[in-house]
């Protein structure tokens, strides 16, 4: 007789169900390091544009595990041998690949943990957990780092067609309601194969790959780089910069212990010790939002106004152009602002600024997507797609944004 099932099942609006296939994986999920991802939004402040976009990094990580299970099943079906141990390692690696993300990650990488990318912090978390889990995560870490001898396993974790992208593009499209960016992750996985230790897509999947690249490009320009999200992210960067500035000048700012730690201590990869990791593990969206909610009542003109803009969603005006805005125009705006509020040029620079955004839908020089032809040959997807100029997608598109205050009476 079969015993009552211990299969852990989580509801997921996208895939229906996500199963957690082993006790070890379940225990990693239960760990506070991982539970913390429940409090970190996958898309930062994008919910200011897309009110449905409140899904978390926790949920995305589980979605990746779901897709990885599918991928393993498909590859085995096609004769690619993957041992039970390798399978679990693949699942653990993808589960933890983003564990190093902090709140509003891109903004943080410019401020609180300047110069330390989230992949490095993910690795620190993994190594720390490896100790706590009796070194049973070593293979997962090797796959994650790309040091395991079967390269295709790392490609499942990190490449232009990895489980990470296949989940987040689908998930972000779903929760934003930007259905044009929806990609057919499950179909793409069905087309996967491995040749010479390299992940490939079978020829019949060529249209799905094209659609994937187009969808991805669309998500970038329409969603991730949406001008409102962009200005919100720029503002949050400036909030954290200003806070550090004020603190370095000796001002006192009310905020959480963890956030305070990072505002007061410059963090580098070199000095990222156990204490830093512990503090980092306490940091999530709530710390930053709560701080801004307090700071919008503080006395500093700059900080107060930046926080109000975000919290009340009364953002700067933003324009996106093909050309860099003229320096004169920007200076003119800055001067007007300085005059109006009696603030310095430096203070005005928090409200009048410009910058560059760029995106390349398909990076040809790196991690190319390979197509496996029926005759066994392999070639780059750009070459295969004959009817359609996929080459256009390999160009880097550059745009410029400028932000400045709305004129109010």
């Amino acid at each position: 007789m079969a015993s009552q099932s211990k299969l852990k099942i989580l509801n997921d609006p996208i895939y229906g169900f996500i199963t957690v296939p082993s006790d070890r994986i379940f225990k990693i999920i239960e760990h506070p390091y991982f539970q913390r991802l429940r409090r970190i939004s996958q898309m930062g402040l994008s919910y200011l544009v897309y009110p449905g976009a409140h899904h978390t990094r926790f949920h995305h990580a589980l979605g990746c595990v779901h897709l990885m299970q599918k991928a393993v099943r498909v590859l085995r079906y096609k004769g690619v041998e993957i041992s039970a141990k390798e399978e679990e390692a693949l699942l653990i690696a993808i589960l933890m690949h983003d564990i190093g993300h902090g709140p509003f990650s891109h903004a943080m990488e410019h401020t609180l943990v300047e110069g330390v990318d989230h992949e490095s912090i993910s690795l620190l978390f993994m190594q720390d957990l490896n100790g706590k889990f009796n070194q049973s995560l070593t293979l997962a870490i090797d796959i994650f780092k790309g040091s395991y001898n079967r390269k295709f396993m790392n490609q499942l974790i990190s490449s232009q067609l990895d489980m990470d992208r296949l989940d987040y593009l689908k998930r972000d499209s779903f929760y934003t309601g930007a259905v044009e960016g929806n990609i057919n992750s499950e179909r793409l996985i069905t087309m996967l194969n491995v040749v010479d230790d390299q992940l490939v897509i079978e020829e019949k999947g060529i249209y799905s790959v094209e659609k994937f690249l187009i969808g991805r490009r669309l998500m970038y320009w329409q969603v991730y780089l949406h001008k409102t999200s962009l200005v919100a992210e720029q503002l949050i960067i400036r909030v954290l910069k200003r806070a550090k500035e004020l603190i370095s000048e000796g001002k006192e700012l009310h905020c959480s212990t963890a956030l305070s730690f990072f505002l007061n201590n410059p963090v580098t990869l070199e000095n990222f010790d156990a204490k830093t990791l512990e503090m980092f593990a306490r940091l999530d969206d709530n710390d930053v939002i709560s701080a801004m909610k307090e700071w919008m009542h503080c006395e500093d003109f700059v900080l107060k106004n930046l926080c109000e803009m975000i919290i009340n969603r009364d953002l700067l005006k933003v324009k996106i152009k093909k050309k860099k805005p003229s320096a004169e125009k920007m200076e003119e705006r800055s001067l007007a602002l300085q005059k109006k509020y009696g603030i310095s040029e430096h203070e005005a620079s928090y409200f009048v600024f410009d910058g560059k955004i760029e995106n390349q839908a398909y990076k040809r020089e790196k991690d190319n997507i390979h197509i496996l032809h029926k005759n066994g040959k392999i070639s780059d997807v750009v070459k295969v797609s004959d009817q359609f100029n996929l080459k256009a997608l390999t160009n880097t598109v550059t745009k410029y944004y400028m932000c400045y205050p709305k004129v109010k009476d």
Copy 2:
């Protein structure tokens, strides 16, 4: 190196993809007996009410195969041993369980093959194919018939919670757009288990079972027994009866060879020989529809009008009541019709008639749905569902319909 995949994949709007997991199964699908199901609508004339309901028995059978693969995977995961041979047999059995359906099956069972049910004909087809496939379908046939020693396998094919129902309720709900009948087949399957060779649902699935029973009841009353479908089916029965009647009187009616065979030869289970099976295999929706399209131009008042009603969707008026309509009222209507068109009482009976419909959402005496409690005990779903009167669903609900011509000027 893995060779290019031979995995057969079919697109399905409901499940995304259906994979055909073995060559033998693929060959059965390719056989003309099975291809014929592409030309038999799953829901008969229901498309007259639900314009999307044109899905076929072919598609449903594939959907069942998909769900059975899921069920096998879930049960194995929970420790139920199912050999590769048993798995294939289960898939073949569910693939072919409905192969004996003819066009407008319920109507046919009252007319062309009176008294021969489609299960019996399915078995005839299976046995015939078993010969053509080197006796490799024997185990599938045993499971289908319930003679295999592992009873739960038959329950996966035929019980109140079998893969057949789990697919057709979902599929019919999907294609009709009657979303209220949508059931969560995949969740229910996740809850399956086997105890003492008996299929059970784990306790946490109790709400899903309730929802399934409610959804099923709703599909019956709102869709399958929809008054327009009902009258259309009654009319098609009468078309075939009248055609047989006219032929028995020596009239000539233009129709296909296969339909002609069944109109001219009374078929019973006893005389259902190879020739009959061959003719049956040639019969599909096109034969019946095409015949009606010709007959609507024939000279017989009754047949002509019945056919016109269906083809032009200008049906009889139909009422559904809780009480049996009074014989007087019906006779009155018949007399008026006889008088108006100068037809006999017998002829009028094709247009003025009444009948009974009944449905029982949950049949308690047979194939009960068993719930497996966390403590290992097993009980009937009706007893478990404490907050809710599932007992009400065990009552047989009876209604009466009456049909008669619309009054036109």
Copy 3:
């Protein structure tokens, strides 16, 4: 020539798009009072069970506006006169009906604003905004309060089949992935009509109403009263109670200005002045979560442990039974805990407790759902549904829960 559209459109994963049909409504949405709802989760801590359930009260309110637009369109189509002014008032009323919710609303109503329900606070917000919007919200407020002479308008805002329920049941089902609770809101709206100033459902919608009631009941027992959500909510109540207790004893607890205000000042409907409203408007999920994140490092055994349980999702054990647990059993558990940690009976009571939950799927004595028959008669839905024991749904179902610490080594 038509000018470039000013139609505001918001993406919604459920309805596709939500349009904001007037400038006034758009300005209300832009107000900080309303923007604050972006930071209040619709389902409190349910995301601990359903990782997708991070949708906000902001999004729900917009969904209600969408459904109300549909309802107005349907009713007008059927000849119910609704003026442009009434339409706008209906939209404003439903937009703001939940604006008085605080973070983890049900928990708050037992602690921070004990005895002040969110409807009363909604009204305070509306009245405040009415001042800021030149008294243009008066009609909306009258409809909301039920004092407008056309009663059916209030029923669209607040009854057993109002736009509120039609959105939140659908939305909660969608985001949790508990698809069994999915209801066909748009179909139900199509069936709406008004007779004698009373909202009714046309007869053909009877199955949809049944399905709605079943779905709603399922959402209660499977989702809203899920044992894990239940224990999490009980814990958050105890966190806030303990914090008030400690503060009243003179302990200092680090938290936000707004939360501090409510922990220090007993609030009643009578003393709910402008200052209180302003502080309430600053309160959202972040204040509570951030406080718990700090408090889990505090020195009080009770508060520290309660906060850890929630933040790390390492909750109390919870059982749900049909009978009230025996007082002896509970006391035994309390004593064991007191002994193990050397804490008082009072302190132990934060970890060992029991309670009652009840739900009635259809409240017959109040706001009955009325069915409009084809012959013009109107009757209660329970009477109409003949085949099915809807009466069972009118019973109040009562269950008991008990919570206590997991036994760890």
Copy 4:
């Protein structure tokens, strides 16, 4: 008091509901000419590849009516005046735009009604019905023909972004399960506007237009020109050609009255009289399929085999290449076949043949898609899409297919 609703509502799996907004439109739908579309598949034999693709032209026409209602609502909202009379005419025009389709329309246009396109036949049906409906369809006909003075109305019926395409691409994608071709029809409609009597898309809809063009291209190459559909369609053309040939030689072939009429009488637009129209109105998929089912038992080697191939889905082998196949290779195959079966070169040509397929995703010279910029300027979508080489989509892509029998033992 509002009377019980007369609003006709049809379930639709895609849009949820389709409402029929006027009695006149409902009566057109009830007419046998229109009911006939229930028996004509939208996608011909594509169900041989995509088992879900059994949706009909009837359903598509209703879908178009649904989208047109949306378009009218959006345009009016933006200030484009559309009278009630014009609205009804638009709905009627789109409802009937495809009424002239016959069974397997593309095949027919090469055989049974050689040189008469379905638009011309649609117009004949409309004119006929105009007589039957007291000339109340005149405005609809003028809009359909493009002779009404408001040009944008014709563009809603027939242009690169008309309601026809917006429905069929979405519908075909839905029913085939080829989700990559899914387009966001409702979003595109929201972006519509009219400037200088010309349909335009507002600038913010640029990504949706791109996605639409990509999706459309994908549907062509992956679905409409799928090699299996292609060979099936080529076979059905040859079945009808062979049948005409045999009949012209005096052979007798069993088939329906209507099909017989077209096999025996050469039809041109000039001789398309009332009798021809009546016969055409009797023709649907059943006539062709039923004929093939009989003919597969006939004596002619060519016809018998062609019919068997389609009915049993045992098709010719087909290859699609970028280059035209060599004449020698094709002749070699033909000779082998002639020898094997002792058939003539002419007979063999029914089984060994090649041809050309081409598609242009965006036709720049005709019915361009115009983008309305925020500054009021209008330009072609190809020029606007700066990051992306939409120009590539204006190229005509040409491919070649060749078909020949499978080699069997």
